[in-house]
């Protein structure tokens, strides 16, 4: 784009300049297209972007003798070509973006006032298997998104068969010109949220969008927070659930992720699986998840605080073991904890970048051998190993990876605060955390809802997974224009068996 600040400023103002520039690339092909004697067309395309079989199919159909002589102009050519989505234009920007999007550019010989663009984009190289690798679930569908936006939209539409599902396409990225798709359910998503989201996406000034998660940061309300303010997901069921709750989903071409918002802190602890299990179990797992996160946040910090400052707090029965396990450790508890926590992070980081088979070996080396050796060498106490590995484990119970990253990050300042000021330090950390969370906003709506501001009606599906009979309304904090999700069956007085049994 000529106005782009990220590109050299010698703008392309004419079509010839454009062709000239393109011809410098070897994969740019210019060919004559003789359909009939009366007129000659010239076709330009990037052979690496177009689908060869589509091209052949196009040429074949145009050379059909019956039609061939009728084609005299671009408009007619447009009518006869078998591909949807072709159009005539002379807008240079549009031509540029289309050619580089895999369109075939056709002009009449010696004429450069109108051009026909035919989409014959090739899609080789894209992943076709759409398993949910990152957000795996045992129960429920395993359909995830892939790197192609059209497929993704198709996947969502397959489940939301309603005209109310609005799909808006926007373009972001001065160089990448990435197609960004924004989806919402009309009449269910709050229009204010929709317009705010759209405005934010339009305002983005950025050169290249590689992944949806980048958008997350670009449209976020607060840049200086470790917490993700939009839910990121590669699972179809999660995105669809977000949509019917009244959230807005955004994805970019080339990314298997959708971000949905406005999100709240608790959205990150929901797993679609909760809804596939009986509500008792779903609730149980959700409570496990939340307590796990709390444990993960404070366990190592508490260990450090108690051992450094407040040994009186540890019951006498436990204290003996603690002292025994620590007596040969030459470091203060804080160093011990920080080094171990860092080790866990190293392991995770190394494991994440390695192929899965080597990753497994690494896990064994790191987890078992390193830990055992560290205790044997009296570099750390085995109780701390338990604490750290448990808290590392529990930090992964959040279904959304971005959140677990944030939680693991927060542990480090917590440990340092605990080392300096013991329990008071942890309280400072906790206060700061609560304040920070309360100040965060996702797409203008508060992050800690429904706790603060308190919305008692929405609490039923947060800490626990309420049975379906109680979740017939959409969460109110999203301010959906239409609150009712489904009708709950009229309550029939359930009679207990003992009242009914026997001969009548």
């Amino acid at each position: 784009m000529s106005t782009s600040p990220s590109m050299p400023n010698d703008s392309i103002s004419t079509f010839d300049q454009f062709i000239d520039l393109c011809s410098r690339s070897n994969d740019f092909v210019t060919a004559n297209l003789n359909i009939n004697s009366s007129c000659t067309f010239i076709a330009h395309y990037l052979k690496t972007l177009v689908d060869q079989s589509h091209l052949e199919q196009l040429i074949h159909s145009l050379q059909n003798p019956h039609d061939a002589h009728e084609i005299k102009s671009l408009d007619q050519l447009k009518q006869y070509n078998p591909f949807e989505g072709s159009f005539v234009t002379n807008d240079l920007d549009k031509i540029e973006s289309s050619v580089f999007g895999g369109f075939l550019l056709i002009q009449e010989e010696h004429k450069s006032d109108a051009f026909l663009l035919i989409p014959i984009t090739g899609k080789q190289g894209l992943r076709t298997d759409n398993d949910t690798d990152v957000e795996f679930s045992v129960v429920g569908p395993k359909i995830g998104f892939i790197e192609d936006i059209d497929t993704n939209v198709h996947l969502v539409r397959m489940q939301l068969r309603t005209p109310r599902l609005i799909v808006r396409e926007l373009t972001v990225g001065t160089i990448s010109k990435t197609k960004v798709v924004m989806m919402y359910l009309d009449g269910i998503a709050n229009p204010d949220n929709v317009s705010m989201m759209e405005a934010r996406i339009r305002e983005i000034e950025f050169d290249i969008i590689l992944d949806t998660t980048q958008l997350d940061e670009l449209i976020t309300d607060n840049h200086n927070t470790p917490f993700p303010l939009f839910t990121t997901s590669e699972r179809r069921d999660r995105v669809v659930f977000a949509l019917i709750s009244g959230q807005i989903a955004v994805s970019t071409d080339g990314s298997p992720y959708f971000i949905t918002g406005p999100s709240t802190l608790f959205d990150f602890f929901l797993s679609p699986e909760d809804y596939y299990l009986p509500w008792v179990l779903g609730s149980f797992f959700r409570v496990i998840r939340i307590t796990g996160v709390v444990f993960s946040l404070f366990a190592s910090a508490l260990y450090v605080a108690l051992l450094t400052h407040h040994y009186e707090v540890i019951p006498k029965e436990l204290l003996g073991r603690l002292i025994y396990s620590r007596q040969n450790v030459p470091f203060p508890p804080v160093l011990e904890a920080l080094v171990l926590e860092a080790t866990v992070e190293f392991l995770r980081e190394a494991g994440a970048r390695l192929p899965s088979r080597i990753g497994q070996t690494l896990g064994i080396v790191g987890g078992v051998i390193l830990g055992q050796a560290a205790v044997d060498a009296a570099l750390t106490s085995n109780i701390l190993i338990i604490v750290v590995s448990l808290s590392a484990l529990t930090s992964f119970v959040t279904p959304i990876y971005k959140m677990s990253n944030a939680i693991r990050f927060i542990r480090f300042p917590m440990i340092i605060l605990a080392a300096m000021w013991g329990l008071f330090g942890i309280a400072v950390g906790l206060s700061f955390l609560l304040l920070h969370l309360s100040r965060l906003e996702s797409l203008g709506s508060p992050y800690t809802v429904p706790f603060f501001p308190l919305r008692a009606k929405d609490l039923n599906d947060r800490f626990i997974r309420a049975p379906f009979s109680l979740t017939s309304n959409r969460p109110g904090y999203l301010r959906p224009p239409f609150l009712k999700r489904y009708e709950t069956p009229k309550k029939q007085r359930k009679k207990s068996k003992i009242d009914e049994e026997g001969y009548v």
């Binding site: 040994y311 009186e312 006498k316 204290l319 003996g320 073991r321 002292i323 025994y324 007596q327």
Partner: protein, 329 residues
């Protein structure tokens, strides 16, 4: 880390002994014994630190033993220190030792538990005849009006092991009398709604009964406070027979009722004996004063204890219900 400490008096100097837990083996705790002497009650930590390679911490201290000489002279100073220090737990136990505290503490070293004495006390008030005690109750009684402190006592058995041999009664902060362990149960029944405790009764012809108290309920009533103080007490006990000599017949309801009567009489006599003793000693561990204070607006501590030994009548009704009769019949 100090877990058990003691105060004793030796040649007008205060002798402190401490048991320090050292956790060097996985399952066993080694106990280090240290001894210091000083002129006052405050320097114990400083003196101890001169003997140790690691700083002394006392936040986990759970047991303080007083030598008898020290207890006779007064433990108020120590209670004062303990109650003011935020690091000291309210679950700390106090005890008086009839023998030298040093010997008693040394006797527990081989148990590898520096809190052996504390656990003895806790075990005994949960399962046996000792009333509930801990630092909080002592501080409560010491600073409160109308009740004196009572502290368990230890002594060494001939074969060099430690046993709880009763309760030391204090007047203000001075040890004045030791109750035997058999008398403790009567004090316990008066002090609290007991959930445990046993006593044995011997009848004329040497037949024995061992009674276990399952639960008791104690309800005092102030009949009159001036000029003569009269307190009426109803003690209800649910008890079970643990052991009984074969000669005592209890098969029939009537026989059982008779036995209950006999037991009631026995308990009443014993408790009355105890209260007489308390009155003559002019100590009030039961808290008659506290009780009267809560019922009588004009109550005055000095006034009350001046007439405590003479003008005070304690009437007791005992009601015993036997629940369960041994395992074999």
């Amino acid at each position: 880390m100090v877990l058990t400490a003691s105060y004793d008096l030796n040649d007008n100097k205060i002798e402190n002994n401490v048991l320090i837990g050292e956790y060097t083996e996985q399952d066993k705790t080694n106990i280090i014994f240290r001894k210091t002497t000083s002129n006052n009650n405050y320097e114990i930590i400083t003196h101890l630190n001169t003997q140790m390679n690691k700083p002394i911490a006392y936040g986990q201290m759970r047991m303080i033993l007083f030598g008898q000489a020290f207890a006779r002279k007064g433990i108020g100073d120590v209670i004062n220190i303990l109650s003011r220090d935020a690091e000291i737990s309210s679950h700390l136990q106090l005890a008086v030792s009839s023998d030298k505290p040093e010997d008693i503490m040394r006797a527990t070293i081989e148990t590898h538990d520096p809190l052996y004495l504390m656990r003895m006390i806790e075990q005994n008030y949960i399962n046996e005849n000792l009333p509930n005690v801990n630092l909080h109750t002592h501080v409560f009684n010491y600073y409160g009006q109308g009740q004196d402190i009572y502290i368990p006592t230890f002594k060494l058995t001939p074969n060099e092991s430690v046993e709880i041999d009763g309760i030391a009664l204090f007047k203000k902060d001075k040890d004045v009398h030791h109750l035997s362990i058999d008398e403790c149960i009567w004090l316990k029944l008066l002090l609290q709604n007991a959930k445990s405790g046993t006593f044995a009764m011997t009848k004329e012809h040497n037949e024995n009964i061992l009674i276990h108290i399952d639960s008791s309920k104690n309800k005092m009533k102030l009949i009159q406070s001036n000029p003569q103080l009269i307190i009426q007490d109803r003690l209800k006990i649910n008890a079970s027979i643990k052991n009984i000599s074969e000669e005592i017949p209890i098969r029939k309801k009537q026989q059982l009722d008779e036995l209950e009567k006999e037991l009631e009489e026995y308990v009443r006599n014993n408790i009355e004996k105890l209260t007489k003793k308390l009155q003559s000693l002019k100590v009030d561990p039961v808290g008659f004063g506290r009780f009267t204070r809560s019922r009588d607006r004009k109550w005055n501590e000095n006034e009350f204890y001046r007439q405590y030994d003479k003008q005070f009548t304690f009437n007791l009704d005992v009601e015993i219900k036997l629940n369960q009769i041994g395992t074999e019949d």
